[in-house]
Point group: C2
Chain length 254, copies 2
Amino acid sequence: MLTAVSLGPGDESLLTPAARKALERADVVAGYKGYIELVPPALLEGKEVVSTGMMGEVERAREAVERARSGKRTAMVCSGDAGIYAMAGLLLEILEAEGLLDAVPFTMIPGVAAFNAAAALLGAPLMHDFASISLSDLLTPWEVIEKRLRLAAQADFVIAIYNPRSKKRSDHLDKALAVIGESREPSTPVGVVGRAYREGQDVRLTTLDKVDVEGVDMQTVLIVGNSATRAAGKRMLTPRGYHRKYAIGDKGGE
Amino acid sequence: MLTAVSLGPGDESLLTPAARKALERADVVAGYKGYIELVPPALLEGKEVVSTGMMGEVERAREAVERARSGKRTAMVCSGDAGIYAMAGLLLEILEAEGLLDAVPFTMIPGVAAFNAAAALLGAPLMHDFASISLSDLLTPWEVIEKRLRLAAQADFVIAIYNPRSKKRSDHLDKALAVIGESREPSTPVGVVGRAYREGQDVRLTTLDKVDVEGVDMQTVLIVGNSATRAAGKRMLTPRGYHRKYAIGDKGGE
């Protein structure tokens, strides 16, 4: 039995009962070191933990599949939602490649994703259509990423940016913000959230022309507003309707 | 004190401890009737419940703000994530319009959104960049929705579709799928999930040219794959990399 377990942002208050139960029942807990650290220690007691800094994620996923194949209840943990830019897909790919899709029962437990968490801390930026784009070009050509940024900006999506900046790719965020700026005002609100619901949490509301790129790392999520997004006090607010098609006095539909 | 509380898809196993605690502490629980029904009954005992089928959502939000202003601990509940197409924004708008942003402490508790839930039941469709689009034209002109669909398809986003079809708007989903089909193959996998993690849950994997539009209602979420999405057994799988830039044997980055 193999379960992809979403840990949520990291605070226990956002760990779902379903995720907790899956961890309680597991014989083996697998995951990237940084994610294992987010698991409440009591839930790891007496369990085999598969996690080394040396192993790549494909190798770790293979190990997890192998444990599950041998009959162990195996939980692969991910921060945020295991179904968003995370391990659920890789586990399925490996199960498929090894002909184990029918032999190994696979379950996915959804969770509070990183951009849900970031949005909650910022206010209400995701009240309207949005796109989520990762700036990591490890597995995706930069031209594809840039095209998506450009079209998402033209479509007036609120844009959540994952993996904004690493040491190797220090200029990606600058480039991405410039592409978005081709079709969005410099005054567009941008929320910058580091380590949401973890120690060192950092929540900032700024504008497209003033993002402190140096202060951003891989654990940061950015949310760029659409053309109607504004600041409401210290909060980031995307109105539900498009360009104030409704008035606050109106009775909206359900 | 005003709290926007995300209930998640509806099953208690996906209600976060933070949401439960906020409900336990509340004096008043406000929300659309259908959402109040998702709150575990024990958490409503002894509380004022603000919910009538007659009231529009703006009016209900005003009532909640009024209760909070008068000193009551008020929880506004939403299914899924209260920060995604939901009430968090409307509460902020009303607080702002009434000059209460500083006077009434406002907190938002993130949750498992409808498309996170749908994705988990389908397999792993959201492993790569995606867009979320609501087909409701109550507050957004249809031309804007159609433009977003077209650009999202061109950008090769996985596309989550909210509010796909109501009695009044029975042709929206047909139109939307046709627009997406302008730049995506008829064989593109589409996941159709009704009532995720609730009674009557219905999970189907089909293709862009074969979606059973008649079987879709407002409680359904659709996830349309990108150009690399495929079926893995009965599951929907979007590979992490773009067009197999990587091999399963590779060591991926973290």
